[in-house]
Assembly symmetry: C2
Homo-oligomer: 147 residues x 2
DNA sequence: GAAGATGGGGCAGCCATATTGACGTATCTA
DNA sequence: TAGATACGTCAATATGGCTGCCCCATCTTC
């Protein structure tokens, strides 16, 4: 049990560290990456959807998105079905940058996957899925749909 | 691949949130818990060992330990083999508090383990172990020894 | 069409957690 | 005795979160 806690801690922190240098080159932090990542994952995401995913406040997200917009990594369009909404998208440069960061993550994960074997990967997913509270599950499943 | 990144993010963040309320009752944050946790795990840990585990600076850890000492959750003794060292230990109250926090983590993890099955748990561990950089592995393995 | 709900933005101020760099003291080792 | 090491501490700074409050535009409902 303690082993799971520890491995999760080390695994998560060490994986996230893999992209700090890339972010720092643009003067960005991990919070920016999280937003960038989920916008990359679901183009035309709305602000409120992103808020639910990240589970932070509007203010915190606002600052992050302002930074990303200033660097021309993210752009917004007015919603089509509801003009109050803003649809978030990466710019071409944003796509390039996110891909570069993701590459560092993929490299780390790929070697862990390879060392552990496909069967282990399935177990890894199963356990992590079980850690997500019921009320967040629908949101995470929605993400998986368009892998 | 993206699935792994996302599940790790959601799994880790949601698990850590499970203890925020317990910590807040003592006016503590997650940083305090991390220190508390590893001191619980390895009584008589030295400062420098804890620094390696947490991978933060001496300043940051110093503040955290001061807070824990003020609340009489952690105490230090002078090292026996090397009098420059300080050996960290939980007080009785610290043991009690850490156990209470750990209980919240254990409950979450246990239900995830149960839902996923023992085979999955092994895979979960294997993948996470693969995420730990070679230079940190010895340290993590040292922790496992006295489970 | 008016009233209220919702999506988004913003201000001010605060807190927690991390950083760097420099310096001091006690203690150990060669 | 000289230098390395373990720990503590100063000051300044950055990041990323929070609350509470108020605003506007737009959609929905009556």
């Amino acid at each position: 049990m303690r082993r799971g806690v520890e491995l999760l801690f080390f695994g998560y922190t060490r994986l996230t560290r893999a992209i700090d240098d890339g972010l720092a080159e643009h003067g960005l932090g991990r919070a920016h990456h999280r937003a960038l990542y989920f916008v990359a994952r679901q183009p035309d995401l709305t602000i409120s959807e992103l808020l639910k995913i990240l589970a932070i406040t509007k203010q915190s997200l606002g600052r992050v998105l302002t930074d990303l917009a200033e660097r021309k990594l993210v752009e917004t369009r007015t919603g089509v079905v509801d003009r109050r909404q803003k649809l978030l998208r990466l710019t071409a440069e944003g796509v390039r940058f996110e891909a570069q960061l993701f590459d560092a993550l993929r490299t780390s994960l790929a070697s862990a996957y390879a060392a552990a074997g496909q069967e282990s990967v399935t177990g890894f997913w199963r356990v992590l899925e079980g850690l997500i509270p019921a009320e967040d599950k629908a949101m995470v499943i929605a993400l998986q749909k368009d892998i």
